[in-house]
């Protein structure tokens, strides 16, 4: 199994707007994909602006090996993501990929995926992957508001989806940790995978610890290279400062200083 990193121009197949702030980007590689694992990310070169000098990291949202395409789920934040939103079918985008480690396979079938905001991105790929390994996870997705709830049908193919929105306009109301599934005395999960804003992951980690559930989180960080050479993206772990782009982005919460 090849795990080599590539620098490659990928063809933009489609840009699908999900809502005001989010869109999907389907990209096709010129040659057969290497092995890509759930939790890995890509570094995208955004051309066309002086304020997007460095590449931008995005998790791999899903991979279709048969069509040789991968999908990104992007939230518009600043100049770089705004530029990406304006890409058209037929454009090219330069990627370094696949980068980072990956979620580990669980030794259980009682799996919960928790995602919030654009942190849901790697969870779809993970859910796919778990399915291939005969695991149908519970999936809890948090959104700001109804308008931003999206791809529920896609997720539902791979797991049992629960939705919660900040304003209660769809599903339950509150932050993901406010969801009723966490309010019980005993949780039925043996493994939680979580991805989202730092504060959310920390809150979920706290719940996981309380219930002694194994938990992996996918960290964000400011990255310059994305492949381990600049040491800009470190996070303190039980082994000292580790690189989020190499030893991560996925960490077992037991290894973090949280």
């Amino acid at each position: 199994m090849e795990l080599k990193k590539h620098v490659q121009d990928l063809l933009v197949i489609e840009v699908t707007r999900l809502n005001k702030r989010h869109f999907l980007l389907d990209l096709r590689a010129p040659e057969k994909f290497p092995l890509i694992l759930p939790g890995q990310f890509v570094q995208v070169l955004v051309q066309g602006s002086a304020s997007t000098f460095l590449r931008r990291p995005f998790s791999i949202h899903s991979v279709d090996y048969s069509r040789n395409t991968l999908r990104l789920l992007v939230q518009i934040k600043g100049e770089g993501t705004r530029h990406l939103a304006e890409l058209k079918t037929g454009d090219h985008l330069n990627l370094i990929y696949p980068l980072g480690n990956s979620f580990s396979l669980p030794f259980t079938k009682d799996v919960l995926l928790v995602g919030g905001g654009c942190g849901v991105a790697p969870l779809l790929f993970l859910a796919q992957f778990l399915n291939q390994n005969n695991i149908r996870p519970t999936i809890l997705l948090g959104f700001r508001t109804k308008e931003e709830v999206s791809e529920i049908e896609t997720y539902s193919r791979f797991g049992n989806v629960h939705v919660i929105t900040d304003d209660g306009t769809e599903g339950e109301k509150g932050l993901v940790i406010d969801h009723s599934m966490f309010q019980r005395e005993r949780l039925d999960f043996k493994k939680i995978y979580c991805c989202g804003p730092d504060a959310m992951m920390k809150a979920v980690a706290k719940i996981a610890r309380m219930h002694r559930i194994e938990c992996e989180v996918s960290l964000e960080n400011t990255m310059a290279c994305g492949f381990g050479v600049c040491l800009c993206c470190i996070t303190p772990t039980d082994k000292g400062n580790e690189r989020v782009c190499m030893e991560g982005p996925v960490f077992n919460i037991n290894r973090l200083t949280w």
Partner: protein, 304 residues
Amino acid sequence: MPDLSVNIAGLNFRNPVTTASGTFGYGDEFRDFIDLGRLGGIFVKAVTGKNRDGNAYPRMAETSTGMLNSVGLQNKGVDHFCREIYPRIKDFNTHIIVNVSGSTVEEYVEVAERINELENIPAIELNISCPNVKLGGMAFGTIPAMATEVTAEVRKVYKKVLMVKLSPNVTSITDLAKAVADGGADVITLINTLLGMAIDIERRRPVLSTITGGLSGPAIKPVALRMVWQVHKAVHIPIIGLGGIMNATDAIEFMLAGASAIQVGTANFIDPTVSVKIVDGIEAYMERHKIKAVTDLIGALRTE
């Protein structure tokens, strides 16, 4: 085919394109992307006496065609380097040069002595942009006498090619260049990062945990080029030039200004294959201009 080889202080490089310390890891991270054997050399990440954790997160801020970093010499120390890293990289088919850093003259000397023993390391590069903890934290590279001292002390124990990398945060780069030449440097590397700062106005906080950090990338190229030119006119030892080199054109500018070789730094993050593209680009330029030896470019700026 044009001759790209350069001889710097007795050391032969297959071409003038090398990679900058702190931007190329220990080289192995790039093996997926390029053939390291096509490079003139690799300057590996700073090595210090003891393990250093470096600075707290966040360590990076993007700026206009540049970036600030405050990595802060994170490395596992010279012991670990000799034991764990050296064996892994010593047979790369290119020169491996170790960037040596410290907080005291003694630390520089200690690290240099240890690296001197490693057969396949033909040179070290003293990074004198580090603060001198015994002298109130002023960087070694900002006071000529301090720069001479650290160079001279290392020179006593280091028998191979001694390169000294200067900080650009000084009034007179030529004074510093003369100072390290006096101290016994064989080669001068120019430039390290400019001291800069970035602020997040929404949170009203500095972006970096250390408030200020080192500015690199194309933004600093004009300053770097000017310093190479000034030092080339003032000092008669070879110069390795860097600062914002993104392509062959930039690299050739540095050579015309007086650099015998160049280093590619921040550009590696944006395109990990850029260093070999620069080798190819220099060759193409030489062919187009019918230049037989790359050494003919060194300091060949026409100013009359």
